[in-house]
């Protein structure tokens, strides 16, 4: 076949759909170095590319580009932003976890404080029970017969010390505190510790050995918050020890 006869077949040949004798003819022409066929096939390839390109453009998913470039080990600039996003998320997560941790720490500290308070209360009650259950404890009352003063008891023990329980004892108020005094038979009153009232009751324990024989009374005055070396107000509680 001549080149003229083959020219209508170049496109099909370039597409790979030509077969049989027609394909063999073109193969032979090319094998002989036929410039017409080589030129014709080059034009056919251009023609086919244009024809294949006509039509509505489709847009591939962005992941295709990522996949392709990743397959040749190219970390495109976009990965920077992905990294930044990941880092931001990690930072936000860390901050959130930090906040959670702080909250947990605060809750734990509160729980510890509550436990200490409960333990302190328990210890004070245990001490009170020891006062009340020990046969060597000597009681003394105060406030009886008065209209609305504090009333209560003082328990004294030669080894345990003094325990004061008062009812109708108002809160000391801002900047004030109650101060207990040991009033000996001879000499000036001695400071015996500071305590507060919850507005109704007051419980105070002074630990330590006590010379009951030398004691004349236990008194309580309202003093400045830091306490005083000697009473500055009239006692609101005076419990004679009676010995």
């Amino acid at each position: 076949m001549s080149c003229q006869e083959l020219q209508d077949l170049y496109e099909l040949y370039a597409l790979g759909v030509l077969e049989g004798e027609e394909k063999t003819e073109i193969d032979q022409h090319l094998g002989r170095g036929c410039e017409n066929c080589r030129r014709g096939l080059a034009d056919a390839r251009a023609f086919n590319a244009v024809l294949l390109s006509i039509g509505p453009a489709e847009v591939p998913n962005r992941r295709l580009r990522h996949r392709l470039l990743a397959s040749i080990g190219y970390e495109r600039p976009g990965w920077f932003w992905t990294g930044m996003l990941a880092a931001s998320l990690m930072l936000a997560l860390a901050l959130w976890m930090g906040t959670q941790e702080r909250e947990r720490s605060n809750q734990l500290a509160d729980a510890r404080q509550t436990l200490l308070q409960v333990t302190g209360e328990r210890d004070r009650l245990n001490q009170a029970l020891r006062f009340l259950s020990d046969p060597d404890t000597q009681p003394a009352s105060f406030g009886k017969g008065q209209q609305a003063p504090p009333r209560g008891y003082v328990f004294m023990h030669p080894q345990l010390g003094v325990m004061l329980i008062a009812s109708n004892l108002p809160a000391a108020g801002a900047g004030k505190t109650y101060e207990m005094w040991m009033i000996p038979k001879v000499g000036a009153p001695r400071p015996a510790g500071l305590f507060q009232s919850d507005g109704m009751r007051g419980l105070y324990i002074l630990n330590g050995p006590l010379d009951l024989a030398a004691l004349n009374a236990v008194a309580v005055t309202l003093e400045p918050e830091a306490g005083s070396a000697a009473p500055t107000t009239t006692p609101i509680i005076v419990a004679p020890t009676g010995s």
């Binding site: 244009v50 847009v59 580009r65």
Partner: protein, 204 residues
């Protein structure tokens, strides 16, 4: 017919742009050096076009993505023997893309054995040299698009089967239940109409 639907559509050919641009040579040189950025540039230029061609043939986006990736990796691995000065890069990419899709469709149809054509042989880089730059202009693509409208239904069918399904004329005859001679006549006349439109454009 799919081809009919394509005619009023936007020209994907706009993506083809001027395929034999001078910067082809620079891009090819960078591809030969296996610069990763060159692959990103090639994909930017031809990615949508290759994907469009492939999707039109396989009609499945996931498969089209796989085959597009395969197309570009094939270009990446074979660009070493591509002529940077005389080669036409985009037609090569389009051809490789179309062949990958046709190869897939043929394997799906069990036509691998029946096909006597080695697609691989038809996309060798050395074949895509000295292509006429004018033949690939956007104006001529528009002419070709309007020429498709002049084809009758039978002519459009055989063009579609050859280009988008990779069928030989014997296979077309079986599919269409027509004599082989009739199919050859339809194919030859269709290509003549399309080709003559481009020749007229070149003269004008």
């Amino acid at each position: 017919m799919r081809l009919l639907k394509l005619i009023p559509a936007v020209l994907a050919y706009a993506l083809l742009q001027v395929t034999l641009r001078r910067d082809d040579a620079d891009l090819v040189r960078r591809l030969k050096a296996h610069e990763p950025k060159a692959m990103a540039d090639l994909y930017k230029r031809c990615g949508r076009l290759a994907y469009t061609v492939i999707l039109r043939i396989v009609r499945n986006t996931a498969v089209a993505e796989d085959l597009t990736q395969e197309t570009f990796l094939r270009i990446w691995n074979r660009v070493g023997s591509f002529d940077a000065e005389r080669g036409a890069l985009t037609p090569w990419v389009v051809t490789v893309a179309r062949n990958r899709a046709i190869d897939h469709v043929r394997s799906q149809d069990g036509r691998m054995e029946a096909s006597a054509v080695d697609l691989d042989r038809l996309e060798r880089p050395g074949l895509f040299v000295d292509l006429d730059a004018n033949a690939l202009s956007i104006d001529r693509a528009r002419r070709l698009k309007s020429a498709l409208e002049k084809l009758n239904a039978n002519q459009r069918t055989v063009i579609e089967l050859a280009y988008y399904e990779g069928m030989s004329q014997t296979e077309m005859a079986e599919r269409l239940n027509q004599p082989l001679g009739t199919v050859k006549t339809w194919t030859r006349s269709a290509l003549q109409i399309l080709r003559s439109e481009l020749i007229e454009a070149a003269i004008a």
